[in-house]
């Protein structure tokens, strides 16, 4: 269909003259990693907390946690992103909102993206953590309580060490997802990997080369994550349980 292949495009100087196109891709790669890792840390911390709260006997706390999960799990990621980026600054008091909006755009985009991805994923992590806790035999909790532990102590010393290990495989999936979902953030102008790929298409009219490169970069990220998580999974596996020896 008359397509002119040109793999050399990556080494040619970029349109703005400050870098090569390969440099653009690498900048996007770094942005994707930075965004996904920070969002993942947020997701793990919040997700673990909310997941635990969903299993506590206190009805109010469990209810709040359930509402949190349903809210962030059921609204499309793209809609959430637009709310964080476009709507929320308008709800702040005018002076604060204006000051925020005039700050560095990359900071604004990164912050909105990180919070959005982090909270969205935290709802999913929470569900995994809850499933892990619920999968434990009831006897473990009762044993902890019978030994004189308080409920928080039982969670801390008996149930959570088990539950977290059990949910490592599903959490790996969520970890992989966060890298892939981060591509959504290109819609608010954050120059991560997918956005740089699209930019390359716009500037060079070489769509195949750039999207193949983007694909390979995502695969590379995710293969690395999978390998590391697999090693981690084996190291912390509980003997006698799924994955244990």
């Amino acid at each position: 269909m008359g397509y002119q292949w040109n793999w050399g495009i990556f080494l040619s100087p970029s349109a703005s003259g400050d870098d090569t196109y390969l440099g653009w891709m690498f900048a996007g790669f770094k942005m994707t990693i930075a965004l996904s890792l920070t969002a993942w840390m947020l997701a793990l911390m919040l997700g673990a907390l909310v997941g635990v709260l969903r299993t506590v006997p206190n009805k109010t706390l469990a209810g709040i946690a359930t509402a949190y999960v349903e809210l962030f799990r059921n609204v499309p990621l793209l809609v959430q992103l637009f709310i964080w980026y476009f709507v929320l600054p308008e709800l702040l008091p005018t002076s604060i909102g204006d000051a925020y909006k005039q700050s560095h755009p990359v900071m604004q985009q990164f912050l909105a993206s990180m919070i959005c991805l982090g909270l969205f994923t935290s709802a999913r992590v929470a569900e995994q953590v809850r499933a892990g806790i619920n999968s434990l035999p009831k006897g473990q909790k009762n044993a902890g309580l019978a030994l004189g532990f308080t409920l928080p102590q039982t969670y801390r010393h008996v149930m959570l060490p088990m539950a977290f290990r059990l949910v490592v495989p599903p959490l790996t999936s969520e970890f992989l997802n966060i890298f892939k979902n981060s591509a959504v953030c290109s819609t608010i102008g954050l120059l991560e990997l997918a956005a740089q790929g699209r930019q390359l298409v716009d500037y060079t009219a070489q769509p195949y080369e750039s999207f193949i490169a983007v694909t390979l970069a995502y695969v590379a990220i995710n293969v690395t994550v999978m390998t590391l998580m697999h090693k981690f999974e084996r190291r912390i596996a509980v003997p006698g349980y799924i994955g244990g020896k």
């Binding site: 008359g2 003259g17 560095h104 120059l191 930019q199 716009d202 009219a205 999207f211």
Partner: protein, 299 residues
Amino acid sequence: MKRFAFTAAFVAVLGASAVMPAQAQESLTLKKIKDTGTITLGHRESSIPFSYYDDKQQVIGYSHELMLKVVDDIKANLKLAKLDTKLMPVTSANRITLIQNGSVDIECGSTTNNLERQKQVGFTTTIFVIGTKLMAKKDAGIKDFADLAGKNVVTTAGTTSERLLRKMNEDKQMKMNVISAKDHGEAFLTLETGRAIAFMMDDALLYGEIAKAKKASDWIVTGTAQSKEAYGCMLRKDDPEFKKLVDASLTKAMTSGDAEKIYAKWFMNPIPPKGLNLNMVLSDEMKAAYKAPNDKAFE
């Protein structure tokens, strides 16, 4: 995300395309139009007043009207009793690939004819000439590009303005923060909400955005034009017969005065969606283009 889906599809057919035989001499596009009785037209969704949806989700605009004229001529030329037109919305990012892979036969919107793109697609006779300028709030104190130093400036991703703006930032060390919005509507939203102090784009499109604004009188288009650009319709490269037919049709419209009438309708009269008059007088460049139609790129 649409563009990614398209691209994914292309990657899938890559293998197949590699073994396809070289194109025959006769016009594949015309043959396809004859065989299927259908022509697929690419249009934009928010390039006011070139190609956009009105409030009834109908595609309208200056470029679109010219394209429909071309379609009439194609129908007459091929002596077809009936020619169905299929409309396909395109974005700045996917329009070139959609032409290349045959999803779209011709696209008239607001596509700049430049040398890089000519390597991938063919361009018809120039249908419009624009200058890249700035839009800002009237009271923001922005008169020209020099006033932008150290400020947040928005433009649309994938446009010549984005390239010029980034280059200017680099060359003149202006320390601007360039925001690349995904389309003109989002770029204007970025400007309107105060995230950016100015929006750099093709002047005609800036007037188009003003036509959509809540309060049109708040905004001005200002600054020295940073580049002149020729808009053309895109079609597949290496199809001279089809291009000849389309060019002839456009040339006829321009030299006969029809194009100027269409211009007046979209640039000098109230247009949808808000009935605002863009009041953009026919420029000398446009007059020249109508007088001597050509398919030259400015850069």
